[in-house]
Protein backbone atom coordinates (compact mmCIF):
# COMPACT_ATOMS: atom_id res chain seq x y z
CA UNK A 1 0.00 0.00 0.00
CA UNK A 2 2.89 2.28 0.77
CA UNK A 3 4.07 1.95 -2.80
CA UNK A 4 0.76 3.11 -4.22
CA UNK A 5 0.89 6.22 -2.06
CA UNK A 6 4.42 6.93 -3.30
CA UNK A 7 3.32 6.61 -6.94
CA UNK A 8 0.37 8.85 -6.20
CA UNK A 9 2.66 11.46 -4.68
CA UNK A 10 5.03 11.18 -7.63
CA UNK A 11 2.17 11.56 -10.08
CA UNK A 12 0.96 14.57 -8.18
CA UNK A 13 4.43 16.12 -8.16
CA UNK A 14 4.93 15.50 -11.93
CA UNK A 15 1.54 17.02 -12.56
CA UNK A 16 2.39 20.05 -10.44
CA UNK A 17 5.86 20.63 -11.83
CA UNK A 18 4.50 20.78 -15.38
CA UNK A 19 1.48 22.74 -14.12
CA UNK A 20 -0.71 20.48 -16.18
CA UNK A 21 -4.16 21.13 -14.78
CA UNK A 22 -5.77 18.02 -16.16
CA UNK A 23 -3.06 15.81 -14.71
CA UNK A 24 -3.04 17.38 -11.26
CA UNK A 25 -6.83 17.23 -11.19
CA UNK A 26 -6.74 13.42 -11.52
CA UNK A 27 -7.29 11.37 -8.41
CA UNK A 28 -5.08 8.32 -7.95
CA UNK A 29 -8.04 6.04 -8.68
CA UNK A 30 -9.02 7.74 -11.92
CA UNK A 31 -5.36 7.89 -12.95
CA UNK A 32 -5.07 4.14 -12.49
CA UNK A 33 -8.33 3.60 -14.31
CA UNK A 34 -7.20 5.76 -17.18
CA UNK A 35 -3.82 4.07 -17.49
CA UNK A 36 -5.50 0.65 -17.35
CA UNK A 37 -7.83 1.68 -20.16
CA UNK A 38 -4.96 3.03 -22.18
CA UNK A 39 -3.08 -0.24 -21.71
CA UNK A 40 -6.15 -2.18 -22.83
CA UNK A 41 -6.57 0.04 -25.88
CA UNK A 42 -2.92 -0.49 -26.86
CA UNK A 43 -3.22 -4.24 -26.34
CA UNK A 44 -6.35 -4.28 -28.50
CA UNK A 45 -4.50 -2.44 -31.25
CA UNK A 46 -1.62 -4.90 -31.09
CA UNK A 47 -4.08 -7.78 -31.28
CA UNK A 48 -5.91 -6.19 -34.21
CA UNK A 49 -2.58 -5.80 -36.01
CA UNK A 50 -1.87 -9.48 -35.44
CA UNK A 51 -5.25 -10.55 -36.74
CA UNK A 52 -4.94 -8.32 -39.81
CA UNK A 53 -1.38 -8.66 -41.17
CA UNK A 54 -2.48 -7.14 -44.47
CA UNK A 55 -1.12 -3.67 -45.19
CA UNK A 56 -2.28 -4.32 -48.78
CA UNK A 57 -5.74 -3.33 -47.58
CA UNK A 58 -4.91 0.32 -47.02
CA UNK A 59 -3.59 2.27 -49.95
CA UNK A 60 -0.75 4.70 -49.06
CA UNK A 61 -1.01 8.29 -50.21
CA UNK A 62 1.80 7.98 -52.81
CA UNK A 63 -0.02 5.04 -54.40
CA UNK A 64 -3.31 6.91 -54.33
CA UNK A 65 -1.62 9.71 -56.31
CA UNK A 66 -0.44 7.21 -58.95
CA UNK A 67 -3.90 5.66 -59.14
CA UNK A 68 -5.45 9.11 -59.53
CA UNK A 69 -3.04 9.90 -62.35
CA UNK A 70 -3.86 6.62 -64.10
CA UNK A 71 -7.59 6.38 -63.58
CA UNK A 72 -8.80 9.75 -62.33
CA UNK A 73 -11.57 9.42 -59.78
CA UNK A 74 -13.03 6.21 -61.19
CA UNK A 75 -13.82 3.72 -58.41
CA UNK A 76 -11.67 0.60 -58.17
CA UNK A 77 -13.48 -2.50 -56.97
CA UNK A 78 -11.97 -5.65 -55.57
CA UNK A 79 -12.65 -8.85 -57.48
CA UNK A 80 -12.43 -10.51 -60.91
CA UNK A 81 -8.63 -10.47 -60.66
CA UNK A 82 -6.39 -13.26 -59.52
CA UNK A 83 -2.91 -12.17 -58.55
CA UNK A 84 -0.39 -14.93 -58.06
CA UNK A 85 2.79 -13.81 -56.27
CA UNK A 86 5.05 -15.52 -53.73
CA UNK A 87 4.45 -14.62 -50.05
CA UNK A 88 8.20 -14.38 -49.60
CA UNK A 89 10.57 -13.69 -52.47
CA UNK A 90 14.13 -14.67 -51.57
CA UNK A 91 15.61 -12.59 -54.40
CA UNK A 92 14.06 -9.19 -55.04
CA UNK A 93 15.65 -9.11 -58.50
CA UNK A 94 13.38 -11.80 -59.85
CA UNK A 95 9.89 -12.03 -58.42
CA UNK A 96 7.43 -14.01 -60.54
CA UNK A 97 4.05 -12.34 -60.98
CA UNK A 98 0.98 -13.83 -62.62
CA UNK A 99 -2.20 -11.85 -63.19
CA UNK A 100 -5.36 -13.46 -64.46
CA UNK A 101 -8.93 -12.27 -64.82
CA UNK A 102 -12.16 -14.16 -65.43
CA UNK A 103 -13.58 -11.22 -67.38
CA UNK A 104 -14.48 -12.00 -71.02
CA UNK A 105 -12.26 -11.12 -73.99
CA UNK A 106 -14.88 -10.60 -76.70
CA UNK A 107 -14.96 -7.62 -79.10
CA UNK A 108 -17.95 -6.07 -77.30
CA UNK A 109 -16.40 -6.32 -73.85
CA UNK A 110 -12.82 -7.09 -73.01
CA UNK A 111 -9.95 -6.35 -70.69
CA UNK A 112 -8.30 -3.27 -72.15
CA UNK A 113 -5.33 -3.14 -69.82
CA UNK A 114 -3.69 -4.84 -66.88
CA UNK A 115 -1.68 -2.58 -64.59
CA UNK A 116 0.92 -3.74 -62.11
CA UNK A 117 1.81 -1.54 -59.13
CA UNK A 118 4.36 -2.09 -56.37
CA UNK A 119 3.90 0.32 -53.44
CA UNK A 120 7.50 0.50 -52.22
CA UNK A 121 9.35 0.49 -55.54
CA UNK A 122 10.99 3.58 -57.10
CA UNK A 123 8.54 3.23 -60.00
CA UNK A 124 5.21 2.46 -58.37
CA UNK A 125 3.43 1.87 -61.68
CA UNK A 126 5.78 -0.90 -62.72
CA UNK A 127 4.13 -2.06 -65.91
CA UNK A 128 1.03 -1.66 -68.03
CA UNK A 129 -0.14 -4.36 -70.41
CA UNK A 130 -2.59 -3.13 -73.05
CA UNK A 131 -4.58 -5.99 -74.53
CA UNK A 132 -7.05 -6.47 -77.37
CA UNK A 133 -9.78 -9.10 -77.91
CA UNK A 134 -7.18 -10.97 -79.99
CA UNK A 135 -5.69 -11.98 -76.64
CA UNK A 136 -8.05 -14.84 -75.95
CA UNK A 137 -7.77 -14.74 -72.19
CA UNK A 138 -6.94 -11.93 -69.77
CA UNK A 139 -3.70 -13.35 -68.48
CA UNK A 140 -0.19 -11.98 -68.14
CA UNK A 141 2.83 -13.43 -66.42
CA UNK A 142 6.23 -11.80 -65.97
CA UNK A 143 9.10 -11.35 -63.54
CA UNK A 144 9.72 -8.11 -61.68
CA UNK A 145 12.20 -6.45 -59.35
CA UNK A 146 11.24 -5.40 -55.84
CA UNK A 147 13.19 -3.06 -53.59
CA UNK A 148 11.68 -4.24 -50.31
CA UNK A 149 8.72 -5.94 -48.72
CA UNK A 150 5.68 -4.35 -50.25
CA UNK A 151 2.10 -4.83 -51.34
CA UNK A 152 1.78 -5.71 -55.03
CA UNK A 153 -1.38 -4.57 -56.80
CA UNK A 154 -2.94 -5.72 -60.05
CA UNK A 155 -5.60 -3.50 -61.58
CA UNK A 156 -7.63 -4.62 -64.56
CA UNK A 157 -9.32 -2.02 -66.78
CA UNK A 158 -12.17 -3.17 -69.00
CA UNK A 159 -13.19 -1.69 -72.35
CA UNK A 160 -16.21 -0.03 -70.71
CA UNK A 161 -13.97 1.67 -68.13
CA UNK A 162 -14.63 -0.50 -65.07
CA UNK A 163 -11.67 -1.15 -62.77
CA UNK A 164 -11.10 -4.36 -60.84
CA UNK A 165 -8.22 -5.09 -58.55
CA UNK A 166 -6.39 -7.56 -56.35
CA UNK A 167 -3.50 -7.02 -53.96
CA UNK A 168 -1.08 -9.19 -52.05
CA UNK A 169 1.88 -8.64 -49.75
CA UNK A 170 5.25 -9.92 -50.88
CA UNK A 171 8.13 -10.20 -48.42
CA UNK A 172 11.50 -9.40 -49.95
CA UNK A 173 14.83 -10.34 -48.39
CA UNK A 174 17.29 -9.13 -51.07
CA UNK A 175 16.82 -5.67 -52.59
CA UNK A 176 16.43 -5.92 -56.34
CA UNK A 177 16.26 -2.26 -57.32
CA UNK A 178 19.46 -0.66 -56.01
Amino acid sequence: MGNWVAIGKLAGRVGASYSCDRMSGLSRRSFLHASGLAFLALAARRLAALVRPRPADDVPWKVQQVLKQLFGDRPIQAGHVQLDVPTVAADGRVVPVMIESDLPMSPDGYVKAIHLLVDNNPDIHLAGFRLTPQIGQAFVSTRIKMRMTSPVRAIVETSDGALWSAAADVGVTVNGCG
Partner: protein, 111 residues
Protein backbone atom coordinates in the same frame (compact mmCIF):
# COMPACT_ATOMS: atom_id res chain seq x y z
CA UNK B 1 23.20 -14.87 -80.81
CA UNK B 2 22.38 -15.86 -77.24
CA UNK B 3 24.14 -13.74 -74.65
CA UNK B 4 24.00 -10.67 -76.89
CA UNK B 5 21.99 -7.52 -76.15
CA UNK B 6 18.55 -7.92 -77.69
CA UNK B 7 18.81 -11.63 -78.43
CA UNK B 8 15.22 -12.81 -78.26
CA UNK B 9 13.26 -16.00 -78.19
CA UNK B 10 9.53 -16.52 -78.70
CA UNK B 11 7.96 -19.81 -77.77
CA UNK B 12 4.56 -20.92 -79.05
CA UNK B 13 3.12 -24.41 -78.71
CA UNK B 14 3.24 -26.91 -81.56
CA UNK B 15 0.11 -28.39 -83.10
CA UNK B 16 -2.04 -25.24 -83.00
CA UNK B 17 -5.58 -25.58 -84.39
CA UNK B 18 -7.63 -22.68 -85.72
CA UNK B 19 -9.34 -20.85 -82.86
CA UNK B 20 -7.11 -22.22 -80.09
CA UNK B 21 -6.15 -19.87 -77.29
CA UNK B 22 -2.41 -20.45 -77.09
CA UNK B 23 0.26 -19.46 -74.62
CA UNK B 24 2.93 -17.15 -75.99
CA UNK B 25 6.20 -16.79 -74.12
CA UNK B 26 8.88 -14.31 -75.05
CA UNK B 27 12.25 -13.45 -73.59
CA UNK B 28 14.71 -10.79 -74.69
CA UNK B 29 18.21 -10.44 -73.33
CA UNK B 30 18.59 -6.98 -71.86
CA UNK B 31 20.29 -5.60 -68.71
CA UNK B 32 17.19 -3.62 -67.62
CA UNK B 33 19.52 -1.32 -65.63
CA UNK B 34 17.59 0.88 -63.20
CA UNK B 35 20.24 3.58 -62.97
CA UNK B 36 20.35 3.06 -59.20
CA UNK B 37 23.16 0.52 -59.07
CA UNK B 38 26.90 1.21 -59.15
CA UNK B 39 29.63 -0.80 -60.79
CA UNK B 40 32.53 -2.27 -58.74
CA UNK B 41 34.53 0.98 -59.23
CA UNK B 42 31.67 2.97 -57.69
CA UNK B 43 30.51 4.66 -60.86
CA UNK B 44 26.74 4.69 -61.32
CA UNK B 45 25.47 2.36 -64.03
CA UNK B 46 23.22 4.47 -66.27
CA UNK B 47 19.60 3.45 -66.70
CA UNK B 48 19.11 1.19 -69.70
CA UNK B 49 15.82 -0.63 -69.91
CA UNK B 50 13.06 -1.67 -72.29
CA UNK B 51 10.07 0.62 -71.90
CA UNK B 52 7.89 -0.30 -74.86
CA UNK B 53 6.88 -3.68 -76.26
CA UNK B 54 4.62 -4.15 -79.23
CA UNK B 55 3.13 -7.48 -80.30
CA UNK B 56 1.88 -7.59 -83.89
CA UNK B 57 -0.25 -10.52 -85.08
CA UNK B 58 -0.28 -10.24 -88.85
CA UNK B 59 -0.88 -6.55 -89.49
CA UNK B 60 -2.79 -5.90 -86.28
CA UNK B 61 -1.43 -5.01 -82.89
CA UNK B 62 -2.55 -7.69 -80.46
CA UNK B 63 -0.93 -6.25 -77.34
CA UNK B 64 1.24 -3.38 -76.26
CA UNK B 65 3.20 -3.28 -73.02
CA UNK B 66 4.59 -0.25 -71.22
CA UNK B 67 7.40 -1.19 -68.89
CA UNK B 68 9.75 0.50 -66.43
CA UNK B 69 13.12 -0.65 -65.15
CA UNK B 70 11.18 -2.60 -62.52
CA UNK B 71 10.85 -5.53 -64.90
CA UNK B 72 13.60 -8.08 -64.24
CA UNK B 73 16.80 -8.47 -66.24
CA UNK B 74 16.28 -10.40 -69.49
CA UNK B 75 12.56 -9.59 -69.38
CA UNK B 76 10.22 -12.49 -69.80
CA UNK B 77 6.55 -12.21 -70.53
CA UNK B 78 3.84 -14.80 -71.04
CA UNK B 79 0.30 -14.17 -72.24
CA UNK B 80 -2.50 -15.75 -74.26
CA UNK B 81 -3.37 -15.32 -77.92
CA UNK B 82 -6.43 -16.42 -79.88
CA UNK B 83 -4.89 -18.06 -82.94
CA UNK B 84 -7.63 -17.49 -85.53
CA UNK B 85 -5.46 -17.01 -88.59
CA UNK B 86 -2.11 -18.07 -89.92
CA UNK B 87 0.13 -15.05 -89.63
CA UNK B 88 3.43 -13.87 -88.30
CA UNK B 89 3.68 -12.93 -84.64
CA UNK B 90 6.22 -10.14 -84.28
CA UNK B 91 7.59 -8.69 -81.07
CA UNK B 92 9.28 -5.30 -81.07
CA UNK B 93 11.11 -4.29 -77.90
CA UNK B 94 12.29 -0.68 -77.62
CA UNK B 95 14.63 0.59 -74.91
CA UNK B 96 15.23 4.06 -73.45
CA UNK B 97 18.47 4.47 -75.40
CA UNK B 98 16.82 4.00 -78.78
CA UNK B 99 17.62 0.30 -79.13
CA UNK B 100 15.03 -1.66 -81.12
CA UNK B 101 14.96 -5.44 -81.07
CA UNK B 102 12.55 -7.61 -83.02
CA UNK B 103 11.77 -11.28 -83.26
CA UNK B 104 9.16 -13.08 -85.32
CA UNK B 105 7.54 -16.47 -85.14
CA UNK B 106 4.99 -17.83 -87.61
CA UNK B 107 1.66 -19.07 -86.30
CA UNK B 108 0.74 -22.04 -88.47
CA UNK B 109 -2.03 -24.58 -88.02
CA UNK B 110 -1.73 -28.34 -88.14
CA UNK B 111 -3.55 -29.89 -91.09
Amino acid sequence: MPGELGAARILVPTGIRRGDVIDVRALVEHPMATGLFRDPEGKPIPAHFINDVSVMYGDQEAAHFVWTSGVSRDPFVEFSLRADREAALTFTWKDNKGGVFTQTVDITFVA
